[in-house]
């Protein structure tokens, strides 16, 4: 089994390490970033309990609102119990998005999230996510087996987690990982 042959570090994100205003006058995400997280990327979310013990779960699709202020993640209920409990209890949310063919990675954070049932629009995202993610899996040499695991997860009961990101960070492996991202004008 081979890992991805990396194509080089992405420069798709604007890096800004300076102190920033916490009032969100413009959306955190620019169009490139919104398109990136809505594409066939690997998505993992985290929250935490009242005692600050972290939890995590995998999502199977992402949708960004037209104004780019809200992000909706779709995930199977059965594999996400701790995370959903923590979100319901008011824990903040972090979500990391990685394009598995290039390791280009970004992380979004929000102070909390709402949980709801998926709409038809969410289900459509789920379907197209699976198809394009499989193509990437194949490209980096993963067997059909991994696609089968994702396919099975897609058939489970889904829930959506919606949040308004207040921070974005570059996480592509390297010394710049963790730097804050600003939306390009």
């Amino acid at each position: 089994m081979r890992l991805a042959g990396i194509l080089g570090l992405s420069t798709g994100f604007t890096l800004n390490c300076g102190k920033r205003d916490t009032t969100v006058a413009t959306p955190i995400l620019d169009q490139y970033q919104a398109d990136f997280i809505s594409s066939h990327v690997s998505i993992v979310m985290a929250s935490r309990s009242a005692g600050n013990v972290p939890s995590q779960a995998r999502a199977l699709g992402c949708r960004v609102s037209a104004d780019r202020r809200h992000v909706t993640l779709i995930l199977p209920v059965i594999y996400s119990a701790s995370l959903l409990d923590d979100l319901r209890s008011g824990g903040g949310i972090a979500a990391v998005f990685t394009r598995i063919t290039t390791y280009e990675t970004m992380q979004l954070k929000g102070p909390g999230a709402t949980i709801g049932a998926p709409t038809d629009e969410d289900r459509a995202v789920l379907q197209s996510y699976g198809d394009s993610f499989f193509a990437d899996l194949r490209q980096i040499g993963y067997t059909e087996l991994f696609s089968s695991v994702v396919t099975r997860m897609v058939r489970e009961d889904m829930v959506v987690v919606k949040f308004a990101p207040t921070d974005a960070f570059r996480q592509t492996p390297g010394p710049g990982a963790g730097g804050r991202l600003e939306a390009a004008p």
């Binding site: 089994m1 081979r2 890992l3 991805a4 042959g5 990396i6 194509l7 080089g8 570090l9 993992v44 979310m45 985290a46 929250s47 935490r48 600050n52 013990v53 972290p54 939890s55 995590q56 995998r58 594999y79 824990g91 903040g92 949310i93 972090a94 979500a95 990391v96 990685t98 390791y103 990675t105 992380q107 954070k109 087996l145 991994f146 089968s148 695991v149 099975r152 997860m153 960070f169 996480q171 492996p173 390297g174 010394p175 990982a177 963790g178």
Partner: protein, 444 residues
């Protein structure tokens, strides 16, 4: 469902990137991909610390974290609830992870980006399956444990070191499907390892040397720890750099006294296990393969056990050779004929040349020179290990040095490089010098 960490070790090979979620003291969660999750023991893992990241900042103030890993064979996901304990910045764990990270970095095009600053050791509070994988038939791989058993059975009948070395390396091929292997012995005085036996290479490379700390073998020896890499790591490859250096030296130098290291040019998986007798380093058992991820944790377990057994057996056989001499067997009649050949000895490093061809240096070179001198002065051909050990002129390294292994090295170099000189065993603790051509000697 909770699982034993040791039962999911193959998820920690780096084939599928892992993820770690942490939480800042203010309650802000963080989740990022991880380069390396290293199995320490059933209750501990170590994570690579490469940059001062948010993850690190978080665990220093709130040690609880969650790590997700995936089984590369069936896609099963496991979640490890962990607690940060400490960071190690040197020593066996650090060096082992550094070598492994170099392989992962090189495989993912990150060779210039990834640099290990520390090994973050975490206690594993719980490991559980979170997503069931697909039922798959695991490809039939050689079973390391049964291979190990067969190798050890083959070792048991060996009367001397030479046969032991061959039995182990041939056994690895026959019983464990490991085609490329070598055994290096440690020279404590020189802080170097010399190759005593190899298997599966075009050139045997017996007599080639590796400095302590050089490449995977040298680091495994220095740190007294097994090191296993599943992907080519250029900084740990001997073949390329050494061959280039040798080619350069061969062009410029009149007298070449290096024996090329025989390692595979396209080595992708490497495993070096130190031979330890209590806390004493005897040597290193090294195996490699052109196939990525060829050696598993189970192979590492087996090789470490084999290396331990080998260290013990080498010590016992060497001791027996010097303490329990047998009477010499009868010598065959030798006819000395042909044109005389000049053998040169350089006292500075005990290098010995046959004509213009480099043969050997160091302790083995000094031994050969003593044997030839005695042969030319007194006509002696029969010798014992013990007399070499007691010979003050030879200035042998301390008792810990393995004289028997030096003799095997000399015997094999002669067999490969010099048709008219040979060292033959004439009984336990004894050997015979055979000279088939007239020799002239020159000392510098």
């Amino acid at each position: 469902m909770s699982v034993a960490l040791s039962s999911i070790r193959r998820c920690l090979e780096g084939a599928v990137p892992a993820l770690i979620a942490t939480c800042a003291p203010d309650g802000t969660p963080n989740v990022v991909p991880l380069s390396q999750v290293h199995f320490v023991d059933d209750a501990h893992v170590a994570l690579s610390y490469q940059f001062f990241s948010k993850t690190r900042q978080n665990v220093l103030s709130n040690p609880r974290a969650v790590v997700q890993v995936m089984d590369p064979l069936n896609g099963t996901c496991y979640e490890l609830a962990v607690e940060y304990l400490r960071t190690e910045t040197h020593g066996p764990l650090f060096e082992s992870m550094k070598a492994k990270l170099a392989g992962i970095a090189s495989q993912t095009g990150m060779a210039k980006v990834f640099r290990l600053l520390g090994s973050d050791v975490y206690r594993v509070l719980n490991a559980k399956c979170v997503v069931e994988g697909m039922p798959v038939t695991i490809p039939a791989l050689p079973q390391p444990l049964s291979g190990l058993r067969a190798c050890m059975a083959a070792m048991a009948g060996c009367p001397d070191l030479a046969q032991l070395f061959d039995a182990v390396l041939e056994g690895l091929d026959r019983f464990c499907c490991i085609q490329h292997s070598m055994l290096l012995m440690f020279d404590a005085a020189q802080a170097r390892l010399y190759t005593a036996a190899t298997h599966g290479y075009a050139e045997s490379g017996v007599g080639s040397e590796i400095a302590l700390g050089e490449g995977i073998i040298g680091v495994a020896a220095r740190e007294r720890t097994p090191i296993r890499i599943g992907y080519t790591a250029s900084e740990y490859l001997y073949s390329r750099s050494l061959r280039a250096e040798l080619a350069k030296a061969a062009q410029g130098a009149e007298l070449e006294t290096e024996i090329p290291f025989p390692g595979l040019a396209d080595s992708a998986s490497q495993l070096a296990a130190p031979l330890m007798l209590n806390d004493r380093l005897i040597g290193v058992l090294y195996v490699e393969s052109p196939q990525e991820l060829r050696f598993s944790y189970e192979d590492e377990d087996a090789l470490v056990v084999l290396a331990g057994q080998l260290a013990l057996t080498i010590t016992l056989l060497s001791h027996a050779a010097e303490q329990l001499e047998e009477p010499a067997t009868a010598a065959a009649r030798v006819v000395v004929q042909g044109a005389p050949v000049t053998i040169r000895h350089f006292a500075s490093d005990h290098s010995v040349f046959v004509g213009n061809d480099y043969l050997i240096k160091g302790v083995a070179g000094a031994i050969l020179w003593k044997l030839l001198s005695d042969y030319l002065n007194d006509g002696r051909t029969e010798f014992t290990n013990r007399e070499l050990r007691l010979d003050t002129g030879l200035k042998l390294p301390d008792l810990c040095d393995n004289l028997e292994a030096r003799l095997i090295l000399l015997q094999r170099r002669l067999a490969e490089r010099c048709a008219f000189l040979a060292i033959e065993k004439s009984g336990r603790g004894r050997f015979r010098l055979r000279v088939d051509r007239p020799v002239l000697v020159s000392e510098s």
